[in-house]
Each structure stands twice: as structure tokens, then as C-alpha cells.
Symmetry: D2
Subunit: 309 residues, 4 copies
């Protein structure tokens, strides 16, 4: 079981949660309920919301400022937020901001950081010593390379092969960490006869599945962009697990924006001009095949997937 | 007729175009042909390409670095670029960069500058004096407010009303400019008995249809985003005119990316989950009406528009 | 006197301020005290803080996460924040976010928007009708063009010239607005025999000193960058007036960061290699003149200004 | 010796360099000379310029557009570029763009990517297999942790300790890579009885000193920001080695901007208000000590360092 925080951290979180003070700002009661609490992700990771600004009402307020009397025709907030999402009027969503504390393996952090429109403060292994914590997949996620799809996973490995992979991941990580500690030669048990390697150098011996931590702050528009890409079926399982945990926090925080996101992005589809033309023929009753569609195999398959739902 | 540049500028452009030098960089012959030449837009504006970097081959090269052997299955460049566009793999398009010199009315510049992912150097009316040049719409663009759509235009005004509007726009602009010049009290004809108002203050008397100029540099991914929003039927005509002129330069520069953009963005459609569900029922032969669709009127109308093509 | 808000707005602000709810987030009591209240700027403008996230403690928390045990040597928060500011460790400051509602003339808005690292929702004159409100300078700000400095102002105009400028600014603005209203032909007093020009077109008749409004959200690092540039003596008076009003809100919100900003940016100076060399010679007791300094006149003058304090 | 590219790559580079075509764009002959050629960095890394746009003349052109007649008083290009740099007028520098191909260890890539204002396409270990290449420091860079400075290095390790660290880094990397290959179970020598782990999972066994590659594109203003931070004495040696190699390409490309950068950033200093006050007292002939300076020890030491040059 993932017990993501230490006893010290649990005490700190309890202390953070114990203090309530009055504010004149917008308050999201459902997010207050979750504030500071870690949500376990993977075997030793977590996300937790540590601050936020605005909620659905901030989106509506910004849109009504921008579009003024023009928004009167969209009478309710849900309709207005759906309209903004459909027409990619992104600036009202930027008025909401959220800050997470995340613990994640470095290979996941490397994918994550490619999203440039966020603010980040990461635990620095130049200044500090990383803990002995590594990600090792659950057996059902220990997948073979997909034969058909270069970016996907196939079936899970089994038996001896699975056992060997898991043992090797664990053993190599432990060995690398033992040597990291020996290179550092710091703290209790340090050898006074050796000087110890600089932290910024010793870390290079650690594997990509070692855990790191960061504070990550982003506005809701860019968070939706992140969640659409990283919560997608084509994303690697390990980062998707984080996206899914974060998506639940968005549902608590800004439920109307969440609904619009699910309706328009997660559940919707973008069709090309050629795919739209095929859909029109199908609706007119024509029996269209891959051969008569005029689409490439890949584009045809993507249309089938969209229509299958 | 729009003669967008002065004689001096025409001479400078001819001089720029006369020099050719060897380079080892990627060269786009079709864009070289257009380089520096102003393309008229509106009554006195223009765009012209003054520099560029990369073309379709830079997109393909970047994608093949990222996806490595995984891209071998997409054999030709057009297929690969279409795939990247469909799946919003935007970073390869960011490897191309283009720089425009643009002359445009200030109210258009105010919409334009909302796109934050570009580099801009604008002619400064703090330091320099703006020319006596104003945008006045062609009669067929002198539109009434749309009754049904707050953000659209209705039919063109006619007769006396049209004449009065055009006369007033011209007259108010001329008066404002006369007073701007008198406030500045600079150059030939200046009154030595007066000191003249600071340029940074005098400019506030000018109307929003006065022309300004800037250099504007952007990567191809963000340019497509700009062109999708500003080339859309919902955009104001005056900025759309610029988007359309720029779109032609993209076709010359990166024809495969241009085709993918037209196929996927301009000619395609994003359907919501609810709209997709209706499409499935229609393809299955069901006669779906607004009433049985479960969609709001607005979402239903947008689906009809997408299916009408 | 600037009474920046209407009676309706004053009632809305009172209502916003009346509600207090409990939160577990960081609370800045001094900023809560000011929340929603408009601070007058120029003759009819204002700024008001409408939301915020974090304060000094969020900066410290982010820095201690990043630098871990390395920050123990900087024991107090003020010292740590000063260290971060001096060494341009900007990411901890990005963990604080603030949202303003601003009413400002369009020529000021055009300078302001050049800062691209903020979120903006502006009142749209495509969708809505702008109010009859214009900026007209106070007599002591009605400055002549500086003779020596292209970007500065000289002495204030006086007597007849000042009167004529103020009268003309007012009269041209009123005329332009009268015609704007007549072109729109909406609301009470509209002529049913005319259709009225589209709002998105009619606005082009308005001058650059008409007031607009927006919501503007930015993180503290980028706000400091904005305030350093726009609060500088070289900035135009009209935008500096906004920067100064905002600076006071930062002092209330994050006093340690404010102090570090004043000490390091506003009160400090950047010296070039050549200027540093001159300073070293001066400290060694040498009498250095412009002639023996090896500096250009401009760089020499800037050094004198920095040393004069 | 670092032979950074394979024979195949060398042939490709020769082919790229062999083609020259005419262009009307700005051409930097000194950068053309270096174009595509890898410059070795660390033991197996490199940088090479693969494209560029603009040079010093583009900066000057943009500044003269912005400041118009106001720039006439700064007559020569070097003086104008120095002025822009000193006064942080950054937009003209943004008109130049450069694209590098970089091969670098992952722990360096993690520091590098924190600069968000660039475009990146990295070799993907989800899609492709990483090569067996690791960074191992030269003996003179195998430094002990600094005692006084958490972020610096002390003296190099020596003798048995140095040997043990180098051996361990090499051995752990080789073991990790052997197991990576065995987990993948692809290509020649693959065991047909096993399926092989997905690439996106197997990579997590690799250490942080494994080499990766990317295309990285950035404008000159943001490149200078990167080079100021990563070329600083406080930066980790391994990333500084890249910054220094890139700095030489900037000198070839935009020599006036390079000189201004060295004069103003690399060789200059930012003084706080308190430091400036001490400098004034010193110039006035006062003997100021740490005790009478009113500065903290850290700020005093930084002033001494700035004055020592």
C-alpha cells in the first residue's frame, strides 16, 4: 500500500489543515475539504492541492467583463462555460490558478516539464540528498512493447520474465543508491578518511525511476491542456495516473468547467475535412468503406474509433 | 487603390531584394520570391515577409528526432505532417519561424497583440510622429450591427446613412490629426512662440483607426493558432483580411503544413460528446431532430453548421 | 476629484466585501483589508485587487523545497528572500499570484499589454458599448516635449497654449463620442429610420484616451518585472501612476518581497564592466574624469546618476 | 578524445555543409562557416548550430522601427545595441533566432529544460532505444562537496577514492545498460522465448548520466538570459561547459550583441541600494569595514567580490 508521506509530513499536514482563517476571496468548499491532503499515485508518489485561486465563478465573471452585454443571451453559467470551451475562448479559464505538491519518478517528471506554461520549484539534488525511493511497476503494468503501436504497451509480461524484470529494477536501483550514498560519504556512518563526492555529481549515478518532488502551479486553461494530453489513452500509464488524480481535484474545484472539459475535450472528437465529408455521406445513407472513403488507412481508423465512442 | 508604401520605401525594398548571398540553411524558393514585397491589406495597410527560418523539412526533421524509429511507419512527409497536426504534436511546427512587417490600424493591432507567443517591435508614438493615415472601410464593409449575433455584422449600410458614416469617420480623423500636429508644433510651419506638447501626450488625441506598424515574429505552431482564430468567420473582417494575406505566405513557405492545417483546422470540426452521439444515431439511420437530440439550441445549430460544410 | 466607480459598482463592491468565509489557505490580512476597494489613478481610472494567492510565506516555502538543506544557512525569511532576489532565483516568486481589476486609458493599455506574461480579460468594444470617459491630463502633467531626451517630458505648458490643448483634447473627445453614439444608433433616442453601424466598426472613431477596463492576473516575479520597467523614471507618467498604486498593494501583500525589490531593483543599480572599473579607480583614490574614464558620454552620465543616488 | 558523432553522422554533416543556395535573407558568414559542425562538449556530448535567423543588423533594424527618430542620437550600431542591453530593452534581441542540435547527459538536460522560453524536440526513449553512452567526469572535475558552499564544489578527489568513484560510475552505468538491453530483448541476439519490456518502461533502469539529444531553438534575448545563468561561476560545471561552447557561436553570429552582453552582463554587476551607499562612502574617501557598512556578511562579501573584479 502506498503510504505516501512520512510521520513528520503527516503531522505537518494535520497542522496545515487545522488552521482556518476568514477571507473575502472566492472559496471552494469542496476543495478546502481536500486541501493539503495527499492523494496516493503509483507505488510511492502523491499529488496534493496546496493552494488555489478562483473557481467557476471567476471564469463567468471574466467572460462577462470581456463580452459584456453580449453574454446576456447565454443566461446560465453552465451554458456560458460550455460556450467558452467549445469556441476556445481560453482567457476566462486563465483566471483560475491551482498549486500542487507532487511526488513523482524522474522519468515522469521529464515528460511533465515539457509543459512550459506552469511555475515549478523542484527539490534540488545539487543542494540536498534524494531519498531511497524508486518506482517499480505493479505486475499488471509490466507490459511488453506493443507490436502494432510504437508508442503503446502490449500485454503484461508473466512468470519468470516478469519476476526477472521486477527483481532487476529493484536490485539495480538499490545498488545505484548504495553507491550514491557511499560517494556522498555524509552523515552517520561517514568515513572520516574520505572527503565525499559533491552532491551535484553523485546524483548522476541514480536511475530514472528515483522519486523527486516539486511544487507546480498552473492556470486552469493550461491545466486542461495538460490533462487532455496526459490523461489521453495514448499517454504513458505512469503520467496518466497523475492526470487522473488531478482531474478529480478539478471536479471538486470547478465542477462546471470540469463538465465542459469532459463534454468537449475528453468525450469529443476533432474531425478532419475528409472525415467530415465521409460522415455526411454516411448520414445521407451511403455505405462508405475504407476503399470508397478517400481516407488513408490511419485516418479511416481514427474516424472509426471516434464513431465507436 | 492601396499603394501601401512610399517611394522611399519602394526603393529600399528593391535594394533589399537585389542582394542574394549563398547560405547553407534551408531555403524556401517560393518565399524568397515574395521576400520583402508588401501585400496590400485594407485601404492603406500591408504585410510583408522580411525573414524566415526552416520550412516543411524542418518539421519533418524535428519529428523524426523526437519519435525516432517510431516514425518509420509513416513513410512520407505529407502523412507525417498530417499525423502531427491531427494529434496536436505541436513542437515540430515550432521549429519554423517567420517575421512579418505589418502596417495596420490600431484597433486591429489591439486584437492582434492578445496573442502573446510572438515577438513584437512596434513603431513608438512616444518617440516618433505617426503619419496622417487612417482606415476607412469600403462601402461593402460598412455593416450594420447584426441583430441575432452580438459579435457579427449584418447587412451593409446604404445611401445617406452610409455616406454620413464615411464622411464622419474621415472628418473626425482629419480634425484629430490636425490638432495632433498643432499640439506637437514641430517641424516646418511650427510656431516658435509655442513649445509644443510632448509626443507621448499628443498621440492620445488620435482615433483608433490611425495606422501603426510593427515587426512581428512567430513560430509556425503559434502562427497557425493565430490564423485559426483570426481567419475564422467569427473574427472581425478587418483582422481576417490580414490573416488571409498571411495564410498565402504560409502556403508558399511550407505547403505540406499548410495543407494539413486546411484539412484539419480550417476544414475540420470539433464535435462534443453530445454531438458525436447524435451523429452516431444519424448514421444508424435514425431521424434526429433538435427536440430528440438532447442538445441545446446553440449546440444543435453548431452541429448543423458543421454537417452542412 | 476622481470618483472612479458608479453607485451601482460601489454597491457591488460593498456586497463583495461584506462576505467573509473560512479558508485553510494562506491569508494576507493587510490585503484582505484592501480587497475589492478601488484606488483612484489619473482622472477617472482605478486599480483594485480582486483576488490573490500566497504571500511571503509561499516564496519561502518554495525556496526551501528547491534548495532543501542548503537554505538552512540563511536562517531568516527576510535574508532568504533578499538572497533569492539578488541572485535572480525567480521561481519562488512565481508561486504568488494576484489579480487586479483596472480602468485605464487605451494608450496606457497599449503599453501595458506588451508584458506578455500575464492573463487578461478586457472589456470588449466589439460586444459592448464603451462609456463616455476620457483621460485629460492635469495641468501640471501637460508637458512640453523634452529637448534633450526624446522619450522624456519637459516643463509643463502654460497659459493660452495649455488652455488650448486641454480644450481641444476635451472637445475632440466629446465630438468623437457624439458621433460614435450616432453611428451606433442604439438605445433610448435611437432613430428607427436608421440601422446603426456595427459596434466593432463604430469604435474606430474613438480617441486613444478613451477609458477601457480589464481583469489582469500575474505572478509576483513578473509583476516585479512590470513594476521595475513601468515604475521607472523613464516610463511615461500615466502608466507610472498605475505602477505606483500597485506597488502599494504589493507592500501590503508581501512586505518582505517588497523590501527586497526596493533594496535590489528600485534602489540598486546595474553597472557595466567599464563602470565597475571606474568605480574601482575612484575607490583607490584616483580622480577620474569623463575624459580619463574611457566611457562614452552616455555611459559616464549614467554612472554619475547611479552614484548620486 | 571526444569524437562526438558517428561515421554516418559525419557523412550527413558533410552533405549538409556541401549545399549552398542563394538567399535574400540576412546572412552571417562567420556562422555559415560553423553551420552543422559539432563542437565537442564533455566526454561524449556536442552542440552544433543547425539554423539561424537575423544577426546584429536585425536588432538594429527592430530598434530603429520602435524608437524611430529617437534613435538618431545614438549614431552607431554598437552604441545603440549597448544602450538597448543596458536599459533592458529586450524586444529587439528577440528578432534573432538560433537552433542548436545538442547531445547532453540527462541530468544536464533536466537543468536546461527549466528555461521555458525555447522550443524543444528531444529524442524519445518511449519510441526509440537510447545508445550506450554515459557521461563520466574527467578526474579534475571529480570534486568533493564544498564545505562552505552548499551549491559549489571543493577540491578534486584523489587517489583511491577518485578511482573508486570513476570505476563505480562506469560499472553501474554498464550494468544498468546491460539490463536495459536485456529487458528490451530486441534486435540481434533477442531471445525469441521472451516478449521484451516496453521501451517506455525499460528506460527507467538507466542512470541520469546517460546521454540524450535534442533540437533546441531560442531567440537571442532568451539565449542571453540562459547564458548569463548557466555560464555563471555558480552554475554546475557540466552545464557551464555547454554555455561556454554556445557563447562562442553567439560571438561569431552577432558580435556587437555579444560584446554588449559581456560588457553589461558577464563583466558587470548589480549593486543593491545598501551596496551603492557603501560605494559612495568609499569614493568619498571613507574607510568602510564590514562592521560599519551596515551590510550583512553575505551582502558585504558579494560587494567585495564585485569590486575585486
Amino acid at each position: 500500500m502506498n503510504m505516501p508521506v512520512t510521520e513528520d509530513q503527516a503531522a505537518e499536514i494535520a497542522a496545515q489543515r487545522a488552521i482556518e482563517r476568514p477571507t473575502r476571496r472566492t472559496v471552494s468548499p469542496a476543495l478546502e475539504e481536500r486541501l493539503y491532503r495527499p492523494v496516493p499515485v503509483l507505488d510511492r508518489g502523491f499529488i496534493r492541492v496546496v493552494d488555489y485561486m478562483g473557481d467557476d465563478s471567476a471564469i463567468v465573471q471574466a467572460a462577462r467583463v470581456s463580452y459584456g452585454r453580449g453574454t446576456k443571451s447565454v443566461r446560465d453559467d453552465a451554458g456560458l462555460i460550455g460556450y467558452l470551451m467549445r469556441h476556445r475562448h481560453s482567457t476566462p479559464f486563465e483566471m483560475c490558478e491551482i498549486k500542487y505538491h507532487v511526488k513523482l519518478p524522474i522519468f515522469v517528471a521529464r515528460q511533465w516539464i515539457r509543459h512550459r506554461t506552469a511555475n515549478v520549484n523542484e527539490y534540488s539534488a545539487r543542494y540536498s540528498i534524494l531519498d531511497r525511493e524508486f518506482y517499480v511497476p505493479e505486475p499488471d503494468q509490466l507490459s511488453a512493447q506493443s507490436a502494432g503501436n510504437r508508442q503503446g504497451r502490449g500485454e503484461a509480461l508473466e512468470g519468470d520474465e516478469a519476476r526477472w524484470v521486477l527483481d532487476t529494477l529493484r536490485r539495480d536501483a538499490e545498488t545505484a543508491y548504495d553507491h550514491y550514498e557511499a560517494m556522498l560519504n555524509e552523515g552517520e556512518g561517514a568515513d572520516p578518511g574520505r572527503r565525499g563526492l559533491a552532491r551535484e555529481l553523485a546524483r548522476m549515478n541514480l536511475p530514472l525511476n528515483v522519486y523527486t518532488q516539486w511544487y507546480w502551479k498552473i492556470d486552469l486553461h493550461n491545466l486542461f491542456h495538460f490533462l487532455a494530453l496526459r490523461g489521453d489513452a495514448g499517454a504513458q500509464y505512469e503520467i496518466r495516473a497523475y492526470a487522473e488524480a488531478m482531474l478529480k481535484t478539478v471536479r471538486a474545484w470547478a465542477p462546471l468547467a470540469y463538465d465542459a472539459f469532459v463534454e468537449n475535450r475528453l468525450g469529443g472528437a476533432e474531425l478532419t475535412a475528409g472525415q467530415l465529408a465521409v460522415v455526411r455521406r454516411m448520414i445521407a445513407g451511403e455505405e462508405v468503406t475504407r476503399g470508397t472513403s478517400g481516407l488513408s488507412k490511419r485516418v479511416w481508423d481514427e474516424l472509426q474509433a471516434a464513431l465507436a465512442g
